[in-house]
Symmetry: C2
Subunit: 294 residues, 2 copies
């Protein structure tokens, strides 16, 4: 794996990696596990895609708080039946590390019964984007177009082949780290990444901030062929939701990143909850995203 | 688990934990996995002991480089058959965190087929103790008394009950963090913790430092009933090996920590290898410690 990674791996082999501390600001850390038959199934994706996606899921937690990556540690469990895929697994991890401009600074390799990736990401931030800092009057924005990840997963779980554009969203999410840094620089006040679905993750912001929000579901950016309600419930998107006291320049954001930035609601004072409406009528909030589970 | 941990857990529940950066010195990080039927068997130890030992194994990597802990992240996979033990698992982790004076700053809980602990430890150090900095003329010291962990494991693997003093060494190792800080303050030049056995781990120091060393096995501190050669091969001890250009005050160390510090060899110039001798005769170097493996 080290041979495949080249200069994006460093310091591996010692008991611990020694890194420079962030010169200013805070240290941001998170750990995230992706386990075969719990978080993914082998038959759905290539080995490289599985490894890439598991790594992005971890890196997305740095995007969620608008931290710049400084390194990651990988604990991999690789059963015998996956051994021949080890180069592809390394390549998927390497692709995710490179695209987030970070390095692999430590690792631990074990045998075991299931393929699993436990990835710890380290970052730094002068101004971490928390969940608890949305205020009444803030606008709520979401990046990208939602619904593809869930649409692909639903197809897989029915034993069908997803449409290529949905499959791509499922197999190849992007950790929106550069986007998050732009958003916080331009005034974002609170943020989260979409792992459980727009509604569920926005609920985490309103609960932590003790505010409420009503989303007109027809404003939610849905992929073609996906209903707005399905877009609201689609998890593992790894897009960002942010609040901002000022208006954000969506056109500039899109020029910069080639990704949409859509205003979908305004934070209000009131009982902490997310409400949905369509054409002025309330819409029942769908259940939280049901992650794949065997 | 959070309820069991009380104030030793903080910041869990957000996408990422935000910590103060080390004010001076380097950031030290390591990740370590302990997996049921790969690294331990359920029938050997209590749930609390298994969790404690897995956590100490990770924390010991901070001791190996003489770093002061600043937090740890836990990724736990807990199968249904272990659910009823969750309080005991939390208590074992909490006991290890408290004894190393650190906090649990993040986590990820998954279902899965095997109980596993993937623990990432974060520390800080002004002067990390590396493997590559032993020099000819340095004395080599080891902490504690060796052999109990291997003796207990051998008994378990034969289906026998180990002697209580050996079982205690296996079930309740200590991450020698305070000891490592003392050793580095008093001039230690290189260090490692014993996970694969004294001979194997000292080989890592001599290889990284490009020096050689000859150990008189009769000077190796062995637990009562353990042969010196078995003590040299005993892994998962989590004792420390350090080199030091100056003499270390073993009596003061023992008064401070209640743990022996024994000089066992002197680093020499020459081909990077560890040699063993007894009463002036060379002794074949035993195979590296055979970790338990199903």
């Amino acid at each position: 794996m080290l041979a495949r990674w080249g200069d994006i791996a460093e310091g591996i082999g010692d008991d611990a990696a020694v890194l420079s501390s962030p010169k200013s600001g805070s240290l941001v850390v998170s750990t995230d596990a992706s386990i075969e038959n719990v978080h993914f199934r082998r038959e759905w994706l290539s080995a490289q895609e599985i490894a890439y996606r598991s790594t992005v899921a971890a890196l997305s937690d740095l995007a969620a708080v608008a931290a710049k990556p400084i390194g990651m540690l990988l604990a991999l469990t690789i059963p015998d039946s996956w051994r021949y895929e080890i180069d592809s697994l390394a390549d998927g991890i390497g692709e995710a590390a490179r695209s987030s401009r970070t390095k692999i600074v430590g690792g631990d390799l074990s045998e075991g019964e299931s393929l699993s990736f436990t990835i710890t990401v380290l970052g730094e931030s002068n101004r971490p984007l928390l969940r608890s800092t949305a205020r009444p009057g803030d606008r709520v924005y979401v990046t990208g177009e939602l619904g593809g990840a869930q649409a692909a997963l639903s197809s897989f779980m029915r034993g069908e082949t997803p449409a290529p554009e949905y499959r791509a969203r499922f197999a190849h999410p992007v950790a929106r780290i550069q986007e998050a840094l732009w958003l916080t620089t331009h005034g974002a006040s609170a943020g989260i990444d979409i792992s459980d679905g727009l509604t569920a993750d926005l609920s985490n912001i309103v609960a932590a901030s003790n505010v409420c929000v009503s989303i007109d579901v027809d404003r939610v950016p849905a992929m073609s062929g996906v209903t707005p309600l399905d877009a609201c419930a689609s998890g593992e998107e790894y897009e960002l939701i942010v609040s901002s006291p000022g208006s954000l320049d969506a056109a500039e954001f899109e020029r910069e990143f080639g990704v949409a930035l859509t205003e979908i609601a305004v934070i209000e004072a009131g009982k902490a909850q997310v409400q949905l409406s369509s054409k002025g009528q309330p819409v029942p909030v769908p259940e939280g995203y049901l992650h794949f589970s065997k």
